[in-house]
Amino acid sequence: MATLTQSAGKAPTASKGPITAKSEGQWQMIWRRLRRNKLAMGGLIVLILFVFMGVGAPLLTRQDPTEFNLGKDQLPPVWVAESPAKLKPNPEYIFGTDSAGRDVFSRMVYGARTSVFVGLIPTTIIMLIGMIAGMSSGFFGGALDNVLMRIVDMLEAFPDILFYIVLTVALRETAFGNAANGLLLLFFALAVVSWGGIARLVRGATLGLRSREFVDAARSMGASSAFIIFKHILPNALGIIVVWAALAMPRMIIAEATLAYLGLGMKPVSSMGDSYFLTSWGQIISEGRSSLNSQPWVLLTSSLCIALIVVAVTFFGNGLRDAVDPQQRGAGK
């Protein structure tokens, strides 16, 4: 699918009033609205499930996801009577095994880790960079604003997947590229290009907010700029930031899967103790493609998982956006 360089739909506007004693109430309102959106709640639950799956992987799996079980390759999952290669399932490997004899179920479960973290970590980094850049830009204006926005313009013009590819290809064999099995490079690549969108949004919100009375009031009381930013601007802009993050997560997950499919993602891990992240769904897809005829369930389950988590997070993100700014939806619920 076309991964848009901007999120579909308008950016939510900041809430109408200053955050004071009503701040708890506002978030409760958002939560209430969110709760009523069944799709969004469904998405949230699925996401939480995946997080548990990823974190609790050692508890959920009995087999070693990196071990090549000789002679037991391409076994079908237990609900299939016989695979195209006329092999019978083995109850020890409930989802069957791949071409190298590795247990598919434990690989799927451990793969959730990478997808979830790839969703979270770069998004968080981008959020931080974008927030700081956007708020400084909007608040201080002037030359800083100019320079930052020009940089953002340039970054936004880059087709991001292209940049990920170029960056990964170039640095893959270096020491940097080998750190954390290639995940450090991956996170770096994802973060470096994508902070522009959130920066721009935050800047817009900051611009709107800084001319408000409460800012003047705070300043007249002698508050420093940093204090104003963090105490007043940030809470108001938080709504946008959170929504943006929720909508950016799927993009990150897809980018990782795409890179893994091209062979540019994580490096393969030889044994369990080598790394926290043993494999990723994108990697499983890329490995499973050639065994489509003999063991299609590897490909199908991994594709399904990616689709599920991405759809779930998207529903949640949409719901969050609608909850934060109900005007968005037109005749809001």
């Binding site: 090549f68 000789l70 195209p84 290669a85 092999l87 050639s290 005829n293 003999s294 063991q295």
Partner: protein, 615 residues
Amino acid sequence: MIGHKTKVLGLGLLATSLVLAACGTAAPSTPVIVEKEKIVEKVVTSAPQVVKETVVVAAPTAVPAAKAKVLRVNLGTYPDNLDPQKASFVNEIAHLKLAYEGLTKFDKDLQTVPGAAEKWAYNADGTELTFTMRKGQKYSDGSLLNAKRFEYSIIRNVNPATGGEYAFVTNDYIAGANAWGEAAAAVADAKDDAAKKTATEAAAKAEATLRASVQAQDAAGKPCADYKQEDCLTLKIKLGAPTPFFHTIMALWVAYPAKEENITAGKEQWTNSTKFQVGNGPYTWKVLEPQVKSRFEANANYYGDKAKTAIEFAYITDSAVSFNAYKNNEFDIIALAAEDLKTVQADAALNAQARIYAGSCTTQLAMNNKYPPYDDKQFRTAVAQAVDRKAWVDNILQGLGAPTQTWIPPGYPGYDKAEARFAFNVDEAKKALAASKAPTADKVPGGKLKYFASNSPRNKTRGEFLVQMLSKNLGIPVEMTLVDPTEYTARQKKGDMDGMFLQGWCADFPHQTNWLPTYFNSKSFASRWGYSNPANDKLMADADVTVDPVKAAAMYDQAQKTIIGDVSSMMFWNNVNSYLVKPWVKGLIQTPQDSGFAGDTVPTAIDIDVAMLPK
């Protein structure tokens, strides 16, 4: 509600765009008519261009079973470089082998037989090779093929400006070839104009020397005038040192006679056009659609056995898709991917169509002779007898391999079938171990043996299997060390891995020299694990310059036996070629040198039984 008109317009647009998209592709239509000719072909043998217009089947519908004979092959990746003097990969060579032919070629036993040249002769000491071309040979477009064509293509391969990866195969032997390369590099390195001037002059001289080494001559011994000269049938090649196997090298694609005027006319794109890829091989290159398909048809101007079928290549890289297309009868030959092996074996019909046969590579388990206890021959013998090759092939390679105890693979000249001195035998291994310097772990430096592998999940599993087997059978603990891939190559070249590791080699051309001295000379690859046998080096060097092929073969044989006997490493397994071939493909001759598809060393032997084709 949405304008009905808009909908219709829209659908129309969609349909139009799809059709336009398809239409825009200029589909080179293959005249079906030409296929019909094949059926009558056997009657009309050497008369070229006769049957082209005659369509015997006047009413095609009357003879429904007269299907065209086309061998449809999925080649996989589309090649990068279809220039004979720049090609280096299997897929590239697969195309060139059909459209062109060298001075010599290989038969089904990989012996070098006459190709475009009907005979050749070395001078007394093997430093000059003279080819005599067949008279009246033609390219597929009917133009003359004389010795000057080969002079051009050989010099083009040597020319440093061409930059082909297989330039070494001619340059290491032809007199003045490497000197020209050096001189050209000196020009490239020249920093200022004065240095450049001297370097350029030197390079010009070097080029002239090389040109004198490769000369097309007429019957009187005078240099040929041009490509049109009919009596230009002699090609003299001066070799830097006695090279009695150079005629084998002239069968390789590096000397394929691409036409100079085509290369000039087509410029950079000449390789992508059938207008310019005009060759002298058994096939005419009729269609070349990069990344989509190629089609070769029998070359009516070819002097030898006419091809019985047309050949079509497709370039589906996805092996799963390729397999499905095969099952769907859209291909006749495809490469069998390891992932699909079990599925094929489970199906009786498919299993019968699987062709798995020895390939062109051998892998050995090297033991670094420089480090104890590997410096002790008895110890090495013990190791060599402690590995169950068959178990490895069955479990690790899933049957896609063949155990071997000798170096040169089966099917290649010099293959030693009888070699069996280091068969798997745990008792013998234990005996040898007891007689060695390190019969128990405490006598081994560090208390354990080391096995090195490049870090990847696959290598790790293989290593674990091997390490376990050795530990058990030797009674000495063996430990695996996974090395980062880039570091591994560097360490391999340095030769400082103090233990065992896998090393492999694949044939460049079917001759013992490519297997023995190239690899096992003390100064070449053998230095990586510290093997050195100067006497054997001399034997191999002598074999290299022995003009009498029978004598040379005997010398190589002895050298190989010595190498195995020295057991500096354990010969482990040969790779296999694995293909699926439809049952209606007949006459296919398998050789280990097959590269593009099964039987492509002698493609003209392939036939299709039209009666068996699905309706």
